[in-house]
Amino acid sequence: MFRYIIDRVIALFITLFIIVSIAFCVVRLMPGSVYDQDGDLSQTVIDTLNEKYHFDEPIIKQYGYFLKNVFLHGDWGTSMKMRPNVPVFEVMKDRIPVTLQINLISLFAAIPIGLAAGIVAAIKKNTIIDHFVSFMVVIFISVPSFVFATCLQYFVGYKAGAFPIIYDASATGMAALHSMFLPILALMFSPIARVARYLRAELAETMNSEFMLLAKTKGLTYAQSTIRHGLRNSMVPLANIIIPMFANVLGGSLVVENIFSVPGMGGMMVDSINASDHMLTVAILVFYSMISLITVLIVDISYGIIDPRVRMGGKK
């Protein structure tokens, strides 16, 4: 097991290195200058800046400086356009908590609802309740989150006036929760549907198996046998779909953040690209990659713990 984890961690670093290299080269070789096109900077100023940030040197050397700064000092460079002279890390530090909050809350709220819907559908298989759940699952999975977000914004936010139509960054406590309710709700639909669909299929299959019959023969009640034997067995494969959902925890809310004007990571990536704020773009891309790679790592390791067969496969 230890060997397996070490293997995966090494693979993670290699991949991350490749991504950093590609991202750095692509972003740096893009057309568009760091300086404003208006030309109100004198040539001397530009030269001085170039010298300070090493923009006048070959790209390979720049890459060397970049790697050195990142690994030795944890310094991702300085934002040039979005918030001039602020370290990239600082710029991101303000944005990350909002995105994390919205995504994590929506995910943690969605999973129990999805579980409940899946269990009900599986127990009441082929009844009107099951059909209703299946119908909602198809709708929730198919309709894009931004359509839901738009509907919620218009009907719940604007027509009913129940919740603020855009996110209020200055609110605190309950008011903050109140203002981020709609984005959270918009992000919940898809995880609910995924969990419900998967659990229904799994549980319905487990319910037909022979150990369930045995459990009932032993004298367990319907609820006892379902919860202790049926549900527990369905949970193992369910972990395989719930854990990867956390990989989307930073990327998935991009559009919804945009719609509700949430000052999160989503808007910043596009803004930094459009503003040619190269250092910031590289940092954001690497950041996204890192989160998703770490999630994949966690998924792999947890598979290994849940299902020993995977561990064996990793050793070969």
Binding site: A11, L12, T15, I18, I19, I22, A23, V26, V27, M30, V138, I139, I141, S142, V143, P144, F146, V147, T150, C151, Q153, Y154, Y158, I165, R197, Y198, R200, A201, A204, I241, A247, G251, L254, V255, N258, I259, G266, M269, V270, I273, N274, L285, Y288, S289, I291, S292, L293, V296
Partner: protein, 385 residues
């Protein structure tokens, strides 16, 4: 000793009417095969049509495709024709407007108007007022909200109208929407075709040869898989610019991996079968073995997975449009229209409603259609992921 009494005479005396022949009337079915043998695809088709939801989904896809092809040519506007004096017009369809149903009548609610001015033909041209609502007294002034036929209010003739309204530049939403649906469908279908092609070739080589080849090829897919989708797509579009080609390629570059893996696992399942061994013994070349003997077995999963990939591609395209990496203006796509309409959602909701309905319908239909196909190709998978 007489063991058996000779009762023949006795039996002959019994009237024949008392006896009834059994089984004579019943038809014997399995004497010979009267029906034609059912082939694989016929079998699939029979199972598919049993699933009502997928059939309806298929019909909806066909209808949307029909409009995507012919819709933009159905009225006199083109997708990039601007009418600067007719921006943000509400939807109006003449014959529905005549029925007074309350929608598609060009109705637009103007709030806080003076009641006394309603009869002034200078301000409200003849017949433009549809409904007067919410009368109230503000500072002694009689104030009402007026629903007007915005086309008549602007002094247009009865014939001129935008069926689904117009956008912020006065472009016809009907034309743009169907053109956008066309663009979205083309992007989806082309990208899925590309990734099926690459995935099938890659997956079959990897699965057929196995061993070292397989290991190297699978490591490559693992590396590609490790790149987060959003990063790959963003980088790709940053390098190659926004446009149909780069959007399609950015979708292909990561999506073929899953097809390749699926095909590979199918190959692992079938390559050890006896019929493959028999074919190889007869001297069949590798290429023929791969494409004629083994690959057809995985045709079902391939079709199914590509059908399920289409809504993902449609979603990705509109997702890109939303974050500002979509097609360049004036070319419309559903995502571009949604993100533009989003900005004026509170004033002119109709600009979002139609594209949102179309994209939702398309996604739902393709998902249902894909599920139906999966059940039809492989009934044992029914209801599973």
């Amino acid at each position: 000793m007489v063991l058996y009494e000779d009762n023949k005479a006795k039996y002959d005396a019994v009237s024949k009417d008392l006896f009834r022949l059994v089984q004579r009337d019943e038809k014997i079915h399995d004497v010979e095969f009267k029906t034609k043998p059912i082939g694989f695809f016929m079998d699939v088709w029979l199972r598919f049509v049993k699933n009502k939801a997928s059939v309806i989904a298929a019909v909806i896809i066909l209808i949307i495709s029909f409009f995507a092809v012919f819709g933009p040519g159905m009225n006199e506007y083109t997708y990039d024709e601007q009418h600067t004096e007719l921006t943000n017009m509400p939807p109006k369809v003449p014959f529905i407007a005549k029925m007074n149903l309350g929608f598609f009548d060009g109705g637009y609610t103007m709030e806080n108007r003076k009641y006394d001015n309603l009869n002034d033909p200078e301000k409200y041209p003849e017949g433009c007022i549809l409904e007067v609502i919410n009368p109230r007294l503000v500072n002694g002034e009689r104030i009402v909200d007026v629903v007007v036929d915005y086309y008549k209010y602007k002094g247009l003739s009865d014939e001129q109208c935008f069926w689904f309204g117009s956008d912020y530049l006065g472009r016809d939403i009907w034309t743009r929407m169907w053109r956008g649906a066309r663009v979205s469908l083309i992007i989806a279908v082309v990208s899925v075709c590309c990734n099926v092609f690459i995935g099938v070739v890659y997956g079959s080589i990897s699965g057929y040869y196995g061993g070292k080849v397989d290991m190297v090829m699978m490591r490559i897919t693992e590396i590609i898989n490790a790149f987060p989708r959003i990063v790959v797509v963003t980088l790709f579009i940053m390098v190659f610019g926004t446009g149909m080609f780069s959007i399609i390629m950015s979708l292909v570059i990561k999506d073929w991996v899953s097809t390749a893996r699926m095909v590979r696992s199918q190959f692992y399942r079938f390559k050890g079968r006896e019929y493959v061994l028999a074919a190889r013994t007869l001297g069949v070349k590798d290429m023929a073995l791969i494409f004629r003997h083994i690959l057809p077995n995985s045709i079902g999963p391939i079709i199914t997975s590509s059908m399920i990939a289409i809504p993902t591609a449609i979603f990705s395209e509109s997702f890109l449009a939303y974050i500002g990496l979509g097609l360049q203006a004036p070319e419309p796509s559903i995502g571009v229209m949604l993100s533009r309409g989003q900005k004026v959602l509170l004033q002119y909701p109709s600009q979002v409603v139609f594209p949102a309905i179309i994209i939702s319908l398309l996604m739902i239909s393709f998902n249902l259609f894909g599920n139906g196909l999966r059940d039809a190709f492989d009934p044992t998978l029914r209801g599973a992921e």
